[in-house]
Amino acid sequence: MIVPWGETRLVQGNEAVALGAIAAGIDFFAGYPITPSTEIAELLAQYMPLLDKKWIQMEDEIASVSALIGGRLAGSKSMTATSGPGFSLMQEGLGYACMTEVPIVVVNVMRGGPSTGLPTQAAQGDVMQARWGTHGDHPVIALAPCDVRECFELTIRAFNLSEIFRTPVILLPDEIIGHMRERIVFPRKEDVHVVPMSVPDVPVEWYEHYHESTSNVSPMASFGSGYRYHVTGLMHDVHGFPTRKKDEVQAKMDRLKHKITRRLDELEDVRMHDVEESSVVIFAYGSVYRSALAAQAILKKKRKTVGIFRPVTLWPFPDRTVKEMLDSKDVVLVPELNQGQLIHEVERMTRDSVRVVPLHRIDGYEITPEEIVDAVLEVT
């Protein structure tokens, strides 16, 4: 038994991602070595042959994400793990998976950039690349864990969401989360919900590879299952064949958007501490959230109450909840390991009377609780 169901263990974040993938029923991993994500590939290289699952190291990241899409079309739940430079190369395949509605999971353990940057140090610089990195209008789902237990849970959720929405899902731990070790209690197997790969039940001649409505997805047949269909990155009709008919193009683009935006309730995941009673709120995710929690405790001793708002699902951004919860605050402090990415989304959803204050750190090191405390005291 590879996943220590129900047991307590000291586990690394990347290790928890690998175990989460096993728990979610990963059938196929294709990847290319890159710091700080390598433990995920290494551990799966060890585990997957024991389970008769397929693992391969490809010649680069473009090949890796391409192999994933082929693997999923042939009926294997597929995942890769990478970091910034590799994530850039994977944008081509991510766009293809969005367009062709193939569920895959891409883990990007974020390191300092741009370019080769700081391979062994943390950053949250790829948040916008996750959203807009591939060309064209496209939907995306991205999740950011803040601890080791979440690395396990959100990897499973990433697989589940990719199957439910037939779209690639990106997991965005930062290097601190990927490399830290924590004692975690694994859930019992029966308590974990795993979404199986969907299987069409219509007669072969009725099969439509893409849903005819503008907001739903249909079960995806696998190659070799008797449903023959065409897959192309060209704009296509419901059968997958290329089209330039404006009605069909419009319907396809609408579905890519609406299949996400009309089911936000299933995607949104926000955690809040003392937000309602506080006029000052810290908006933080990933490793920065941990410092925010510590800062909140320090401030409490100084008799200062601050709230914490944490998006777990970064994309789609929790527009409605941010508006509802933060639009009446005096100050929203947004500490990020970048030069300001999600802060613009917070600004977009709050009126001018809310002071949205940035706190950046881009030297490869963590934002400390003290830095957050100082920033809060400065603005209040």
Partner: protein, 280 residues
């Protein structure tokens, strides 16, 4: 099915997808015919076949054939195909690509597919240029040839596809032309039968772009060039060296037995399980 309809139609998405995009005189349709005849000879079920491709004229082929078809991104057909074959080794996977798709943007993928010896058949239609984008030079454009991006003549040497694939480790390597169709049918059939990575390079004319830029004549003249400028490998023994030095050689250059990646992976799983068992 009526006896007057060629059996090839059984394998085409005839009602939905025609007319095709290829120009008059293009060789890609002939290669598609060869692939279909070889598939028929193999007796494969259409459900069990996956045809992958990249981007370009040749890579439009999957839309016309009634298999599981995957028109991937530029150059990545073999990477997609590797995922398909790994996920379901029972599927018969073939990749169709042009010279630019397979050797320029997809060059990394094809050498590693050959090195791994993944059980896929790659059919490379070599028409010496990028046809779809208007006739730019490719890695197989001959030195001196004119294309839309070599208005003063090509200064780069070209790839010899077959020698490249031999060196990279493919199990089966052959070169044919769309003029010598029976020979090409046979090469593709043998490639399908081969376990491991097999490659067939099919020389084909592009009268619209390459032919026009180099004043090689129309479709008929370009077909005649394939006939006159190539020799079968068996003729190397009977012809004098000065008669053969400017000819392109057709034939099967590599046909070796080596264990495919899929079989080696299955053996790895068994080894891993035994090792884990022994540790207990």
């Amino acid at each position: 099915m009526s006896a007057t309809i060629p059996y090839e139609y059984k394998y085409l998405r005839a009602k939905k997808r025609f007319p095709h995009v290829w120009c008059p005189g293009c060789g890609i349709g002939i290669v598609m015919g060869s692939i279909i005849r070889a598939v028929d000879a193999m007796g494969w079920e259409k459900d069990d076949i996956v045809m992958v491709s990249g981007i370009g004229c040749t890579s439009r082929m999957p839309v016309y054939v009634d298999f599981n078809t995957l028109h991937a991104t530029h150059g990545r057909g073999l990477a997609f195909g590797t995922g398909v074959k790994m996920a379901n080794p029972d599927l018969n996977v073939m990749a169709v690509m042009g010279d630019g798709d397979s050797l320029a943007i997809g060059g990394n993928h094809i050498i590693h597919a050959a090195r791994r010896n993944i059980d896929i058949t790659a059919v490379i239609v070599n028409n010496n240029n990028y046809g779809m984008t208007g006739g730019q030079f490719s890695p197989t454009t001959p030195p001196g040839a004119k294309t839309s991006t070599t208005p003063y003549g090509m200064i780069e040497p070209g790839f010899d596809v077959c020698r490249l694939m031999d060196g990279a480790g493919a199990s089966f390597v052959a070169r044919g032309t769309v003029y010598h169709v029976t020979e090409l049918d046979n090469m593709i059939l043998k490639a399908f039968m081969k376990k491991g990575f097999s490659v067939v390079e099919a020389l084909a004319p592009c009268p619209t772009n390459f032919g026009r830029a180099n004043r090689l004549g129309g479709p008929v003249e370009m077909m005649k060039l394939l006939k006159d400028n190539t020799i079968n490998i068996s003729q190397l023994k009977t012809m004098k060296p000065d008669e053969t030095k400017d000819k392109i050689v057709r034939g099967i250059f590599v046909d070796r037995d080596s264990i495919s990646y899929g079989d080696r992976y299955l053996a790895l799983c068994e080894k891993a399980k035994k090792t884990a068992e022994a540790k207990k």
